[in-house]
Amino acid sequence: MPSLKALRNRIASVKATQKITKAMQMVAASKLRRAQAAAEAARPYAARMNAVLANLAGPMQGKDDAPPLLAGTGRDQTHLLVVCTAERGLCGAFNSSIARLARDHAAKLMAEGKDVKILCVGKKGYDALRRIYAKQILEVVDLRAVKRLAFSDADAIGAKVRALFEEGQFDVATVFYSEFRSVISQVPTALQLIPAQIPEADEAPGGGAGIYEYEADEESILADLLPRNLSVQIFRALLENAASEMGAKMTAMDSATRNAGDMINKLTLNYNRSRQAQITKELIEIISGAEAL
């Protein structure tokens, strides 16, 4: 049985921890709102981009002279995995579930005899993957200094991926991130970037793709569009990730706060019990002392 003083100290320290987790939960909640708003604000652009791309790329598919970003290199020997995770921990299984998905994917590809290269965005993914794939990690992109995620950050990553692609470093690129469903549900997702996946073209209102006039010809627009689409996809992944991270952190911190509360209750019960036991013991000592006289 620990002494009363030790129990008191324990309770005080658990209370302090609870205050911290509570504060972290509230910070995460407010950041989540912001991240969610950012993710929602970015949606129209991505949606329009998809629609335009679908119109434009539909006819190009299957052609021999389609741009390599769209058609790929024609091989699928070397895969690049872009693993987007958070910079910080304390958000439940968020980072590890993305890392696990990437690891499973990498293991599957390697079992098929393919080469795998990894680009880490975010420190936690790097920490999780470097033990197994240290040699395959090409680079780590650090976004710790970034307060508010801007398109230029995603564009920088997109430019890196494009540069690697042009050097012929890989044939297929896949990005791993966590899709934000709700505060309690984030789904780790893999999305293929190169060759670009073209959404089904829906007939545009007011005329299909056929009667479009192109200023600067079709190919050069597409050549301009595809790299941008890559950056947009990465941007979207990062925004989804930011919202997911905050959601996961909020839930994790909420349950941590609750756990601390349970622990405090148990400790307080223990404390009161041993205090009572001590009082009883002292009383017995006094009474038996008096009786002996």
Partner: protein
């Protein structure tokens, strides 16, 4: 009163404009163009420049855009800008920084094709600076 149509200006970060407008002036890569209702479907890339929006009601508004493309249909027009800000909130330092970056890019390239491209981009930026900064 001219007919109005739906115009949307979106940047990757957010939706800037979505309203009924009378006409929009777009800095297309092949030259400026004014879009009005029932325009033939056109898809064009845009160069850094100023987009002038004339809403169906209210005052004209101007936005600075840096590259992107426009999707024009008879029923509406969508402008996907790489980066867009209202002229009112435009930051001088920002364009100065972009010009510096473009100059550095120009200096970094050695082959002819890339140099021409970078030079053109730099020229577009300086023109834009000339339009926007004294305002």
């Amino acid at each position: 009163m001219a007919e109005s149509f739906q115009f949307e200006l979106v940047s990757p970060e957010r939706l800037l404009v979505s309203e009924k407008v009378e006409s929009v002036v777009i800095p297309g890569s092949e030259g400026e163009m004014t879009v009005m209702a029932n325009h033939a479907p056109v898809m064009t890339t845009i160069k850094p420049g100023v987009v002038t929006v004339k809403p169906a009601s209210g005052a004209e508004e101007r936005y600075v855009v840096f590259g992107g493309f426009a999707d024009i249909l008879p029923t509406g027009c969508t402008l996907l800008a790489e980066s867009a800000v209202s002229v009112k909130d435009f930051d001088r330092a920002d364009i100065a920084r972009r010009i510096e970056a473009a100059k550095a890019e120009l200096a970094a390239h050695t082959d002819h094709g890339a140099r021409t491209k970078a030079e053109e981009f730099l020229h577009q930026l300086t023109t834009l600076e000339g339009i926007v900064v004294p305002a």
